[in-house]
């Protein structure tokens, strides 16, 4: 069993009374690494009710009565954004999800002690028993710092320990302090500046390593070129490296389907399992490799400190589009899948910016659209060269470009209208560069995988069953089924934009996950194994569809919110039914108008 696996063992009867310890500290002080070290990576991830801020909870290795909570980063006692609000609620005992901590571990970056000392004093002023951890002490000492922890401990009246979170030896002092418990700070504390000069006995010049790298990476031109190159590489990797594992997953699902088909009698239950659940859940699980590869890069970029630089470089561009530099990562992630993209938006401080980012995330062309694009482009766009470029490739690029431009325009319109209000402040640390800790990376990936499988999995599971019923009953053909009947009812609505009954029917199962539409088109036209046999489906489509209708279908797919899991996650992340309805509504409206315009313009041009 993996050491990452699983929640802590159920609370056993221990002699010692359970104590709740919360880690609080500014962002980028290595709090999560400390948490992972103390708990041995055995943690369960929770969500605060009402807001979608995650917290991790575990127990001190070897001392099960010490319950440790890792709280989101905090800079002062004023809430700025959902994250810091949650932290303040928990430490003041106002949270419903978590008990008031018995002890606070105030984690600061040893190398930034002077700057973070006022924060330490503010938290100590709350009167909660505390321990002060000067974290990343090894890096600070390597840079030329020397500390007198005992002097600071005497002055504050609370335990002060130096910690090097990734190493066991670097955690022994804090583990001892945790077992002994925290203390309430003395009443009349010296000023932050005096305390800092008491604790820091030797201070080096600036961080030459980080400054040197930043001269290149933050360069107004070279920095942007490097950022573009990194992003290009990440995108290539997300597609190139995922091909093999996705193939294997696909094969495993098909193998399972075949095995069950052989093992079970041909009845409704077999069809439900094979065509409903396995096909539906399988179509989502197949994206796990892409999501893991994408998050691998996101985590590496984040842990190394580069992500903040990416936000720095793009901030002004994004601000002009009504967003902020911090929206870059969520939006880029949405090209793999809008679900991790929306989840990545949690780090954004301004609720308005976060809302707009989530609202436009579905416009970034996710990988599930690719199968649909691929089939239609292969069928309708001639495979020839236009200048040095392949025409099919150009059309595909055009579809992506249309989506990005639309996304930025929608963001701008939203900011100017419904989601206006104060612009977010940037004020953001550019942390010093460091190597990502492999253990943190693995734990981070494991958590992302779990969240993806749990959320998307449960929803898709349910929807798959519902859709299976809709396409399977009543009658023997899709046309006679509920889905077929629903298709006939709504078909008049789609006739003005050139969609035929078959196209409309294929849209319905496509609601679960976009790529399902390929299979559905296959079923409608009774092409066996349409997904494997794209050429024959392409041939049928060429006969049945006009070019104008095919282009309209592509335009529809650029915009339409055809994915139940995305909508469900958007609902969770925005915590608002109204905004979710708005998102679905505006996307459908855009899709309808875009498909209609495409159809009639193509017709006018003689397609």
């Amino acid at each position: 069993m993996s050491p990452l696996d699983s929640a802590p063992a159920a609370a056993t009867e221990t002699e010692a009374k359970e104590r709740v310890i919360a880690l609080v500290g500014p962002p980028n002080v290595g709090k999560t690494t400390l948490f992972n070290g103390l708990t041995g990576g055995r943690a369960k991830i929770g969500n605060y009710p009402g807001v979608t801020v995650e917290f991790a909870e575990g127990r001190l290795s070897g001392a099960d009565h010490l319950r440790i909570i890792d709280l989101p980063g905090l800079l002062g006692l004023e809430p700025r954004g959902a994250d810091s609000k949650v932290t303040l609620d928990v430490i003041s005992g106002r949270s419903e999800a978590l008990p008031k901590p018995d002890t606070l571990v105030i984690v600061v970056d040893a190398g930034q002690l002077k700057r973070q000392m006022p924060f330490v004093l503010k938290i100590l002023g709350l009167g909660i028993p505390s321990i002060v951890a000067l974290n990343m002490a090894d890096l600070a000492i390597r840079d030329g710092f020397a500390f007198d922890a005992e002097a600071l401990e005497r002055a504050l009246g609370v335990p002060v320990v130096l910690t090097t979170a990734p190493r066991k030896a670097g955690r022994s002092d804090i583990e001892k302090a945790l077992l002994e418990g925290g203390r309430v700070a003395a009443d009349d504390l010296p000023s932050a500046r005096d305390l800092a000069s008491l604790a820091i006995t030797q201070e080096p010049e600036g961080d030459q390593f980080t400054a040197g790298i930043d001269r290149v990476l933050l360069h107004p031109v070279a920095g942007l070129v490097i950022l573009a190159a990194i992003l290009f590489f990440v995108f290539q990797a997300v597609f190139a490296w995922s091909a093999w594992p996705m193939d294997q997953l696909d094969r495993a699902v098909v193998g399972l389907q075949t095995a069950i088909e052989g093992a079970m009698p041909d009845n409704w239950l077999r069809s439900l399992v094979v065509d409903g659940i396995l096909a539906g859940v399988g179509s989502v699980v197949i994206f796990l490799p892409q999501i893991l590869i994408l998050f691998f890069f996101i985590l590496v970029l984040e842990m190394s400190g580069y992500m903040a630089r990416a936000a720095f470089l793009t901030d002004e561009l994004m601000r002009r589009a009504g967003l902020s530099g911090r929206a870059v990562i969520p939006l880029l992630s949405s090209f793999a899948c809008a679900i991790p993209g929306m989840m990545a938006a949690r780090t954004m401080e301004s609720e308005r910016d976060r809302l707009v980012t989530i609202l436009v995330a579905p416009l970034m062309t996710c990988s599930a659209r690719l199968p649909v694009y691929a089939v239609l482009i292969a069928a309708f766009i001639p495979n020839r060269l236009v200048g040095p470029f392949n025409l099919q490739g150009l059309v595909l690029f055009g579809l992506y470009l249309a989506a990005v431009v639309s996304g930025l325009l929608v963001a701008l319109v939203l900011k100017k209208t419904v989601a206006g209000g104060q612009t977010q402040r940037l004020v953001m640390d550019l942390p010093s560069y460091k190597w990502p800790q492999p253990k943190d990376l693995l734990i981070g990936l494991w958590r992302r995988a779990l969240i993806f499988l749990r959320r998307a999995g449960t929803i898709i599971f349910t929807v798959s069953i519902v859709l299976w019923v809709l396409v399977s009953y009543p009658g023997d053909t899709l046309r006679e089924s509920f889905a077929g009947r629903i298709g006939s009812v709504i078909e008049p609505l789609f006739r003005p934009i050139g969609f035929t009954l078959e196209m409309v029917i294929a849209l319905i199962p496509g609601l679960a996950a976009r790529e399902v539409a390929v299979g559905a088109l296959g079923t409608v036209y009774a092409v066996q194994n349409a997904e494997e046999n794209q050429e024959s489906l392409a041939a049928v489509l060429q006969n049945e569809w006009s070019l104008a209708a095919a282009l309209a279908f592509l335009a529809w797919y650029v915009y339409a919110p055809q994915c139940i899991s995305t909508i469900a996650v958007a609902r969770r992340e925005m915590n608002s039914g109204r905004w979710t309805a708005f998102m679905v509504g505006y996307l459908f409206a855009l899709a309808y108008v875009a498909a209609g315009l495409t159809y009639w313009i193509a017709r006018a041009l003689g397609a």
């Binding site: 800079l75 002062g76 004023e78 700025r80 190398g111 930034q112 002077k114 700057r115 973070q116 006022p118 924060f119 600036g206 961080d207 980080t210 400054a211 930043d214 001269r215 933050l218 360069h219 107004p220 031109v221 920095g223 942007l224 903040a308 936000a311 720095f312 470089l313 901030d315 002004e316 561009l317 601000r319 002009r320 530099g325 402040r425 940037l426 004020v427 953001m428 640390d429 550019l430 010093s432």
Partner: protein
């Protein structure tokens, strides 16, 4: 002694000392929480391509990104 100027008026790499924070309370409180307090030494490391914003500001051993409007709230005295 040089005259006080807003932080964005510094040249890249020109060292200065923070004199005061002026502006909206929420902004000055946030800047103070980030360590921008009178007496600290600062200089500008890099500026963004478009409109010279945001600014990467060296503050002690930290580098902090500020938009131009935010940095205008910091009054400095060039060294």
């Amino acid at each position: 002694m040089s005259a006080p100027i807003p932080l964005p008026s510094l040249k890249n790499g020109q060292k200065a000392t923070i004199l005061a924070l002026r502006g909206e309370d929420a902004l000055t409180a946030q800047l103070a929480d980030n360590g921008f307090v009178p007496g600290e030494a600062v200089w500008i490391v890099r500026r963004g391509l478009i409109g010279g914003t945001p600014l990467a500001v060296q503050l002690g051993r930290a580098v902090i990104a500020l938009r131009r409007d935010e940095a205008l709230a910091i009054e400095v005295e060039p060294a």
